[in-house]
């Protein structure tokens, strides 16, 4: 049913076709209304007031939060509106640290853009806010509150899409600030480093922490051999930094540019992704046959891995033990390349080029160092690579395409579709179909897992029973499925999780998207890249075959486990100093510490604590025991955790603790 409802924008009629706010209608009428706090994928906040328009009979309203009505008359640039917009921007600028030429967001800063567009040439207001300290401690992001315009986009993304809420508004009045809990650094709270807050920030208040300077140093150091591994999603977005249409595949130009910068070899992370497919598919099939630790959660996304570690310690055995392609590549490169390239391990530098900010954190995880040397030395985002290309003065658009180096630069399409949400599932299925003799074309397309909705499902009949797959992006969606797994209502074999919208192509290391359909175009480009590749299944990659022959023997072998798999650990959400509950201890007393972190709490730690206190109280044993509650001992999956005189008791049961107290009491004098 479509009735033509007409609305007038600046006296010109426009059809109202279900748009939910005046702002979208104006955009349809080719009028760009400035916004700071409006983001089409987030809830409407309506606080910046930049999007003011005048509505006949109603006066000035914020267009982002005003619902259209039939016959509405909207004016978008009256004298008053223009004046007010200028005032708002001027006031923001007055308190904004205007270090524009040295700000990494200089080129895509909304505030700078707006100030130019509105023709602001002087600021008539005084600074009212105190300068605030920057947060430089995270591996991935730098926060500069002095550039924040308090639009809240980051706050809403983190809580509405990622379901985390690592940052929020605090304090009031002139002191309002967006900050992690207790004014701590992002490095010490539940932030999972997805970087999406930086991607939605209109200014440079949250930016990606750059490592390009360190990489330049390595490149310029003649004793070093510097090799690059490039993730699949980079090739479909890098061109955007050089005004090429989004979704243009620029693999060849990118390889040429990397060589011109000074990289000695250019390899493909998709090669390692092929390996991931084989390792993970075999892990899945073995779990499916044994019926244990299902569903298997994918583990390529480091933001999801940290999220699971801090929120779902009970599910860590369900995570695939496979390292991500970045880390598989790193381990293989450090093991094999020194010999092939004739360099020492110390002089080999592996640089990963990623669409992702969390990969910087992943590379620093201590699990991923071998004999004190990191498997991956540096991680650059797509944006950082683009900037390095510009710094070097390379005319990217006119480069002749070159191809990657062998053997680790050769990949099948399976390793390339990893860049899209749903890609891992499809790639695994292409491998499994072969193993399980499911009749399917080599380049099977699993329509159900392609697409953009937050949670997608597919079922495939196989020799080992029906394979039930779910694909999610956004950690809030992941939490929905994880909760179902925890309470036993989910029935899946595989759950693929990517934290970023659309998967890695929507990673926060990618160029800031200026068009609304950028993500779709990158997504399509990834599938196109697969189409034009000669091979589509990981097992057909001859260089993968070779690595099994010469080094790994077979999938999930002992050697493969040593080099390509890893372990996870539970992790507390907020790092804090020693707990305030413990009081100065007297040596002779028996020290009891009861963990009341969330996980232990849910497993009954509170009852144990209460009962312990009661026993001590009833017997007046105060001088024999020193009891305190502590917070998360990071042993959540084995909780409730109790420490008695330094000895850790896992899965503590009330009766055991009680009898232990009795025996400790009898050992001590009154």
């Amino acid at each position: 049913m479509k009735s033509d409802k007409i609305i007038y924008i600046n006296d010109r009629p426009i059809v109202w076709d279900g748009e939910t706010n005046v702002l979208s209608l104006a955009r349809k009428a080719h009028i760009e209304i400035p916004t700071f706090c409006y983001h089409s994928e987030l809830s409407v906040y309506g606080a910046c007031r930049l999007c003011l328009v005048e509505i006949e009979g109603r006066g000035l309203v914020t267009s982002c939060s005003t619902i259209p009505f039939e016959g509405m008359k909207v004016y978008t640039h009256t004298e008053q509106i223009i004046k007010m917009r200028k005032t708002i921007v001027e006031m923001l600028l007055a308190n904004h640290d205007q270090a524009c030429p040295t700000c990494s967001r200089s080129n895509d800063c909304k505030l700078r853009d707006l100030s130019t567009k509105l023709g602001i040439d002087k600021i008539r207001y005084r600074k009212t806010r105190q300068p605030k300290a920057m947060d430089m401690m995270s591996d991935c992001l730098v926060r500069d509150p002095n550039k924040c315009v308090l639009c809240g986009d980051c706050v809403r993304f983190c809580s509405e899409v990622q379901g985390i809420g690592a940052i929020d508004f605090a304090h009031r009045g002139e002191g309002v600030i967006v900050t992690p809990a207790y004014g701590k650094s992002l490095a010490h709270v539940d932030c999972v480093n997805c970087g999406q807050c930086a991607a939605v920030c209109p200014t440079g208040a949250i930016v990606v922490k750059s490592q390009s300077e360190q990489v330049w140093q390595q490149v310029h150091n003649k004793t070093k051999t510097v090799v690059a591994q490039v993730a699949p999603a980079v090739r479909v977005a890098l061109g955007e930094m050089f005004n090429l249409p989004s979704g243009e595949i620029t693999t060849g130009k990118m390889v040429a540019a990397l060589r011109m910068i000074g990289f000695n070899k250019v390899f493909d992370t998709s090669y390692a992704a092929d390996l991931t497919v084989i390792e993970e598919a075999n892990e899945l099939l073995s779990r499916k046959t044994k019926g244990e630790n299902l569903p298997i959660f994918t583990s390529c996304c480091p933001a999801w891995v940290k999220f699971a570690e801090q929120s779902y310690p009970g599910l860590l055995n369900n995570l695939s033990s496979c390292r991500s392609p970045q880390q598989m590549f790193g381990a293989l490169a450090k093991a094999r390349l020194p010999q092939t390239l004739g360099v020492t391990k110390e002089d080999l530098c592996v640089v990963a080029i990623m669409p992702c900010t969390a990969k910087k954190y992943e590379a620093n995880r201590k699990e991923f160092t071998t004999d004190g040397i990191a498997d991956v030395d540096f991680v650059l985002t797509t944006q950082e690579l683009g900037k390095m290309i510009k710094e070097a003065g390379i005319d990217f658009n006119s480069l002749e395409p070159e191809s990657m180096d062998l053997p680790m630069g050769f990949a099948s399409g399976a390793g390339v579709i990893f860049g899209n949400s749903g890609g891992v599932s499809e790639a695994v299925l292409r491998y499994a179909a072969d193993k399980l003799q499911i009749p399917m074309p080599e380049s099977i397309v699993l329509q159900e897992v392609r697409g953009t909705s937050g949670i997608r499902e597919a079922e495939v009949e196989t020799a080992v029973g029906t394979l039930r797959m779910a694909v999610v992006h956004g950690l809030k969606n992941a939490a929905i499925l994880a909760d179902q797994v925890v309470n036993g209502t989910a029935n899946y074999d595989v759950i693929e999780v990517m934290a970023c919208p659309g998967g890695c192509i929507g990673g926060a290391g990618q160029p800031i998207a200026c068009e609304s359909n950028t993500r779709q175009q990158r997504n399509q480009a990834i599938y196109n890249a697969d189409k034009i590749m000669p091979l589509h299944r990981a097992q057909d990659n001859p260089f993968i075959d070779e690595i099994y022959q010469t080094l790994l023997h077979e999938p999930n072998s002992h050697k493969a486990h040593e080099m390509l798999h890893t372990q996870y650990r539970s992790r507390k959400r907020i790092e804090d100093e020693e707990t305030s509950f413990s009081a100065p201890s007297k040596e002779e007393r028996c020290k009891i510490r009861v963990c009341i972190g969330t996980s232990c709490f849910l497993r009954g730690a509170q009852e144990i604590l209460a009962a312990t206190l009661k026993t001590v109280e009833d017997n007046a044993w105060h001088n024999r025991f020193d009891i305190a509650a502590t917070f998360c001992t990071e042993l959540c999956d084995l909780g409730p955790t109790i420490v008695i005189n330094g000895e850790i008791i896992h899965r503590a049961r009330l009766e055991d603790v009680k009898s232990r107290i009795q025996s400790e009491a009898s050992l001590r004098e009154k």
Binding site: T579, A583, Q606, I627
Partner: protein, 166 residues
């Protein structure tokens, strides 16, 4: 009395408080109020615990706790002095009292609690007792028409009492 056991016991109080409000996130303010009554401030670990119990993020709870000046995230002294610096009190000379007390206690606008944790001195804006201006509140007791001399004398009385106890 044993302070560690005390602390653990008062942690049980936090759980009682949470239960009393059915762990309902819409009751954040009364919950924080009760917690602050228990501890005299909002310790970070307790806030994190309350946040996870209510299923809100610690950053959001921190936001609520810092929005209301009533809540304190710093430990407060045993005795709390509040001097009103609202318009009426200001006009009638509250500044002189504030200066005298800060001077005596070695405190400032930034440092509000003495190192021995005996005193916290804060200024507040209007206590709604303008008729008595300037107003000083000493541990809940309201004192009107306070001069620097009176304020220092009140302070001295507390110090004397504390010394007798020690």
């Amino acid at each position: 009395m044993d302070s560690a056991n005390n602390a653990a016991r008062s942690f049980n109080k936090v759980i009682e408080i949470l239960d009393r409000y059915d762990r309902n996130a819409s009751k954040i303010i009364p919950i924080l109020q009760s917690v602050q009554e228990e501890y005299r401030y909002l310790p970070q670990e307790v806030l994190t615990f309350v946040a996870t119990s209510l299923n809100v993020s610690p950053a959001r709870l921190y936001g609520v706790a810092t929005f209301y000046s009533h809540f304190s995230l710093e430990p407060k002294g045993k005795h709390i002095l509040k001097m009103c610096d609202g318009t009426a009190c200001h006009v009638r000379g509250s500044s002189a009292v504030i200066d005298a007390l800060r001077d005596k206690l070695g405190l400032s606008a930034k440092k509000i609690t003495t190192d021995d944790m005996l005193f916290t001195f804060e200024t507040v804006s209007c206590l709604g007792a303008c008729g008595l201006a300037p107003v000083l509140v000493v541990d809940e007791a309201i004192h009107g028409q306070v001069t620097p001399e009176v304020a220092l004398q009140l302070l001295d009385e507390i110090v004397q009492k504390e010394q007798q106890h020690a």
